[in-house]
């Protein structure tokens, strides 16, 4: 555990990507199986323990520490594992006992539920502060060391002298602790075999683009589609190595979502891998993200849920067909194959993402401003902008420059008054970084209309935090009430993507995706907007219930 803890500790403080890669590569090279495999699983989010969860840590902390002091400490540190590691009343005489990550993973997986708490407490007593932190991080699963699954796989590629995409290609063929994968990387074993279909391809991502950046681009070299506000998925189906039919639905990160969408996967009657957007269709029209969210929030799927929230995939790319990997083809050729594919599979739960007709960037701009008249019709509610793709773009993993662009719709903007602030967690721990803001009612009072916790720079965060500390009028645990009279207080310009009627909010409206777009130090609270002004935005967005 000491070795793994030291790795996590050094990774957490190493800002440079190359520095992180060097640390990871050295660890994989020097650490024996299966320790390194379990560490890899921990860093790629592949480990979960049925009985060891954050709740267990909370209960242990409650047994060993004062609840008020624990609460205040947790609020300050903003990270459960670190809080407990720092305040655990350790028995220093037992510290630094030999304990490997394999011991810990085995123990967490096999210890009966009723004995687990005592087992973890015993480990915590035997580890030093850094070891306690690593152990607790392993249990909570959120390592927060600035290592993405892709970076870990890049380090593996360096270990074995391969390309990162080669690792991505075989990633789903092995499972923790990845003995075969390491054997292959160290030239001690066979390369894993992968079917062309029923596999996950790392997705191609786009870059945001601003209007002035269009100037040098020739519209004739691009195709535009609507950017749909759903979740990015990959539908993969075909025969596996044993000739058995398999169908899978993957998330953007390669997580298998098949269990949550059996109604969709059942209909995958093809041998192909498709890239698209998972959406909900009701009454002939695509629903907005709020509706989809209601299905995503449910842990279990039942017939009622499936009937009420019928899912389908609006497909926009074809990555593999039969035994052919199509990713090297130019976009327009893949698009042509995709169109015939959709026509040939009328029963599959998919439809084609249509293109937007335009000859100039101004025409595209007009379509983006008014999707319902620009071709999206009844589905306009689910449009969050347009996607612009180069006709000759191959399908490349990651976020390659110059091929795909996303041009989101302009946000809606209001001026609101800061009312309450709460401390953040993680990177923002101990800063007052979650802001509740309000607008004026007819009665001349402020009513809270939303909460935002991003949109500002690190420098602005420091200023906001200082404003909160120096203008606190009331404290409720981690929440501070901040001065908000007509003449004294802070005006925040808030941008958001949509507004809905809501019975759950006192103001009667709920914002989608609110964030602080500017701090208006120059304005007085009385200059902020009214609820009436905010409600005008209802007309611009959907009528769906929240």
């Amino acid at each position: 555990m000491n070795r793994f803890a030291a790795l996590l500790d050094r990774l957490a403080y190493e800002p440079r990507r190359l520095g992180k890669l060097a640390l990871l590569e050295a660890y994989f090279r020097e650490t024996p199986d299966p320790d390194r495999g379990w560490a890899l699983a921990a860093m790629t989010g592949a480990l979960t323990f049925k009985n060891a969860k954050a709740g267990l840590i909370r209960n242990l902390a409650a047994e060993r520490t004062d609840p008020v002091l624990f609460g205040l400490s947790y609020d300050f540190v903003g990270d459960l594992a670190e809080t407990v590691a720092l305040m655990w009343p350790a028995d220093e005489t037992r510290a630094n006992a030999q304990l490997t990550i394999t011991d810990v993973v085995d123990g967490l997986s096999t210890t009966p539920k009723e004995e687990l708490s005592a087992r973890v407490a015993d480990w915590l007593d035997r580890l030093d502060e850094n070891g306690r932190w690593a152990l607790l991080k392993l249990i909570t699963g959120a390592l927060r060391i600035g290592v993405s699954a892709r970076l870990a796989r890049t380090a593996l590629a360096r270990l074995g002298g391969k390309e990162t995409d080669e690792i991505e290609d075989v990633w789903h063929t092995d499972a923790p602790p990845y003995a075969h994968l390491f054997a292959w990387l160290e030239s001690r074993g066979e390369a894993p075999s992968v079917a062309t279909t029923v596999r996950f391809y790392p997705p191609m991502l786009s870059h945001p683009i601003e209007p002035e950046e269009f100037v040098p681009l020739n519209p004739a070299e691009f195709v535009a589609e609507w950017k749909w506000d759903g979740i990015r998925v990959q539908a993969a189906a075909g025969k596996d190595a044993d000739g058995k039919r398999v169908a899978r639905l993957y998330s953007r990160t390669g997580e298998d979502l098949s269990g949550a969408f059996p109604d969709l996967v059942r209909g995958f009657d093809f041998d192909a891998v498709l890239d698209g957007e998972l959406l909900i269709k009701r009454g002939g029209g695509v629903q907005d993200f709020n509706t989809l969210q209601q299905r995503l929030n449910r842990k279990s799927v039942n017939a009622k849920m499936m009937a009420e929230f019928p899912a389908f995939i609006r497909v926009y790319d074809l990555l593999a067909l039969g035994d052919d990997d199509l990713r090297a083809l130019p976009f327009i050729e893949r698009r042509a194959k995709l169109e015939s594919f959709v026509n040939a599979h009328p029963l599959a739960p998919i439809d084609l993402s249509s293109t937007i007709k335009f000859d100039t960037w101004d025409e595209l701009s007009a379509a983006r401003a008014d999707p319902s008249h620009g071709g999206a019709g009844i589905d306009a509610e689910a449009v969050e902008g347009v996607m612009i793709k180069r006709r000759d773009a191959p399908y490349l993993a990651g976020r390659p420059k110059g091929y795909w662009f996303k041009w989101k719709r302009d946000p809606m903007v209001i001026d609101a008054v800061l009312m309450y602030a709460q401390r953040g967690s993680g990177k923002r721990s101990s800063f007052y970084s979650d802001y509740t803001f309000g607008v004026w009612t007819e009665a001349g009072e402020l009513t809270p209309v939303g909460k935002a916790y991003f949109g500002f720079t690190d420098e602005e965060l420091i200023e906001l935090d200082r404003f909160v500390r120096n203008n606190t009028t009331n404290r409720f645990g981690p929440v501070r009430e901040v001065t908000h009279t007509k003449t004294k207080g802070l005006v925040l310009e808030v941008a958001f993507e949509g507004l809905q009627r809501s019975t759950r909010h006192k103001s009667g409206v709920a914002m989608r995706f609110p964030r602080i777009s500017r701090i208006r130090w120059d304005k007085r609270p009385s200059d902020a907007d009214t609820l009436e002004a905010l409600e005008k935005f209802l007309a611009r967005t959907s009528t769906a219930k929240v």
Partner: protein
């Protein structure tokens, strides 16, 4: 006599009506008693200032000789009667010249701790326990997650890193008053005999420490030189300078910050620190408790910091406790400044 008749909080700071005097006022007042030279406690523009000779010297360096209408020096242990209240100053162990202020009247003694620590510090005299009825304490690090390792332990981490990366320069962000000189003195104690390089912002206060007899060895101003000149060097600067182009003159710098906040990983990462050193000039959780017990005070008032936690602990011990939530202190200890 009721303690509140001797001292009570006002928006400007703690006020003694009989002496018409404020302790560490955050805005200009007629008469101020200043516990120590950090800029959130010692501000310019008061009518008269009462402080230790060292603190007066520090204020003169920071604000110029005309920082107050008049000044009066009071050495540790001396007593001065103002309006029937006996004032005395006692070492707080925080930085050079830092003092606790004791105010006594009618058999009741109130002690204002100012900022203080109990850990050994080669650059200033140790904290003196002053028995009292009411102890008015700071609470900057009043959470059980804060147990500060020794200064030596942390400086040895810095030396180990310097030995591991001899081709890189180690740049340590340390607050200009107190922390920087303490890091230098600890480096000398741990056997670092090379010159210590400093940013210009640390020069004057470092010289003031040396003039007061604190041995810091050879301290040199960072000057224009080829990058390779600073390979293996240890350089001190204000924490704010770490984010400026100034650091680009050093070879592949390892950025470090010496601050009690560095105990919290997220704090260190928020500042992009690669080598956090948990060196603090404030009492940690255990030392706050020990000090409160040592004073024998039955009532504890808390000026600033994590007041709720300390008040809760006091109540568990059967002590009366009150959070004053004074505004304006601790600015220098906030993440941006990272002085604590």
């Amino acid at each position: 006599m009721q303690p509140a008749q001797i001292l009570h909080p006002r928006p400007e700071g703690l006020y003694c009506p009989m002496a018409d005097l404020y302790v560490d006022p955050t805005r200009p007042v007629a008469r101020a008693l200043i516990t120590h030279g950090h800029s959130d406690h010692a501000r310019a523009g008061h009518g008269s200032v009462l402080a230790t000779p060292e603190t007066l010297a520090i204020m003169a360096v920071r604000y110029g000789p005309g920082f107050a209408g008049s000044t009066q020096a009071l050495k540790y242990g001396e007593t001065l009667d103002i309006g029937g209240v006996k004032f005395s100053l006692h070492s707080a162990g925080h930085v050079l010249g830092s003092a606790q202020a004791a105010a006594e009247c009618g058999g009741t003694r109130v002690v204002v701790s100012g900022d203080y620590k109990r850990q050994a510090d080669p650059t200033c005299p140790p904290f003196e326990v002053v028995p009292c009825d009411v102890f008015i304490t700071e609470a900057t690090f009043a959470l059980p997650v804060f147990t500060h390792p020794s200064g030596e332990h942390e400086v040895r981490k810095l030396l180990a890193s310097a030995a591991m990366f001899p081709e890189r320069a180690h740049i340590v962000g340390a607050y200009a008053l107190g922390k920087a000189q303490r890091v230098m003195a600890e480096l000398r104690r741990c056997g670092w005999h090379e010159p210590i390089f400093v940013h210009g912002a640390l020069l004057e206060l470092t010289k003031l420490y040396q003039d007061h007899g604190v041995d810091l060895g050879e301290v040199r101003h960072v000057e224009t030189a080829p990058k390779s000149f600073y390979a293996g060097a240890i350089v001190l600067c204000p924490p704010g300078a770490l984010q400026t182009p100034w650091v680009r003159r050093f070879p592949d710098p390892v950025t470090s910050v010496a601050s009690g906040w560095m105990r919290i990983r997220a704090r260190a990462r928020q500042q992009g620190v690669e080598l956090p050193l948990a060196i603090s000039d404030h009492a940690d959780w255990n030392d706050l408790q020990r000090t409160i017990k040592d004073t024998g005070a039955g009532e504890i008032w808390i000026t600033h910091g994590e007041a709720d936690a300390l008040a809760h602990w006091c109540e568990l011990q059967g002590l009366k406790a009150k959070a004053l939530h004074l505004v304006g202190y601790g600015d220098e200890e906030e993440p941006a400044g990272a002085a604590a």
